[in-house]
């Protein structure tokens, strides 16, 4: 399938400056623990309220990368709305890169306050940069997303800048 990088690049550039606000809702204790289990990280800060309180936290913590690693905060999409590579093409965090091979490039994170179960969280999501580059194996797009996690009353929790690469 012939892909015009320039077309995809123009579609992504059209999103620059648009911010979508995505309600995450109350942080679920079980999700935090399961994330830590999936990482195979048994740190008692993530499981034991009393231990976390002894170390100055209000209760058991989220692993530091929890909020910025979850790729979807909505129920969907249904399977027939997935791209051939399995990624969603129409949820709130989707970026129009149909037909390209995509890979996560890493994140830069600022942690403003600890994340604990029961916090009511909102995410502001935007495409903050897009660059068309020539790699060793051909053209590639480097797209930067910005995710700001805030409490429902607007207090910053985590700021994330994430790069992904589409080829």
């Amino acid at each position: 399938m012939a892909i015009s990088f320039e077309t995809v690049y123009e579609q992504i550039k059209a999103l620059l400056g648009q911010t979508r606000t995505i309600p995450i809702g109350k942080i679920n204790r079980l999700d935090l623990e399961r994330f830590a289990v999936a990482v195979d990280d048994p740190n008692p800060l993530f499981f034991d309220d009393a231990f976390a309180r002894e170390h100055g936290y209000p209760g058991a913590l989220a692993p530091p990368l929890y909020l910025s690693s979850v790729l979807g905060w909505e129920a969907g999409p249904f399977e027939d709305s997935l791209r051939p590579d399995g990624t969603p093409n129409n949820d709130a965090m989707a970026v129009p890169i149909r037909g390209l091979r995509v890979m996560g490039g890493g994140q830069e994170l600022e942690f403003h306050r600890p994340v604990t179960a029961g916090m009511d969280v909102v995410m502001e999501f935007s495409v903050s940069n897009a660059e068309l580059k020539r790699g060793r194996t051909g053209p590639l797009l480097v797209v930067q997303l910005k995710k700001r996690f805030l409490t429902a009353d607007g207090t910053p929790i985590v700021t994330c800048r994430e790069n992904f690469i589409a080829r």
Binding site: N43, F51, A52, S68, G86, G105, L109
Partner: protein, 148 residues
Amino acid sequence: MGQANLFFEDVKVGTTVTPLVKRPSTVQLFRFSAMTWNSHKIHYDKPYAQSEGYPDVLVQSHLHGSFLAQAVMDWAGPSARMVGFRWQNRAIACPGDVLTCAGTVVKTEMGDGCGYVECELEERNQRNQLCAPGWARVALALRTEPSK
């Protein structure tokens, strides 16, 4: 694991972050994808991953990052506060690879009632290829309260 407290006075430039060895499995990749609602087939569908030119399913970008963050938090102890963190994905990893996360303190500075240390981090595979460089900034408690 996450038990002993590190104090700012215990750390200087050149101090090493205790290495953490991780051995990702297909079960781990499946559970991490499920937990993060990551339906990208390169993480669980081997024939699909091979169709993109990879030898096997791939460790998720965010799991590489989580391994490095785990190494830092285990080393710094439960009273430390991670205030900044970053990583980059440079080389792929697959189930069966042995990933070692290590680091070195590159900067220390006094803060208001605590000390800050910055670490350069590396996650390398069993062939010593750099899979993910990273960096963390951590606030550590002071062993002695500064006199006012």
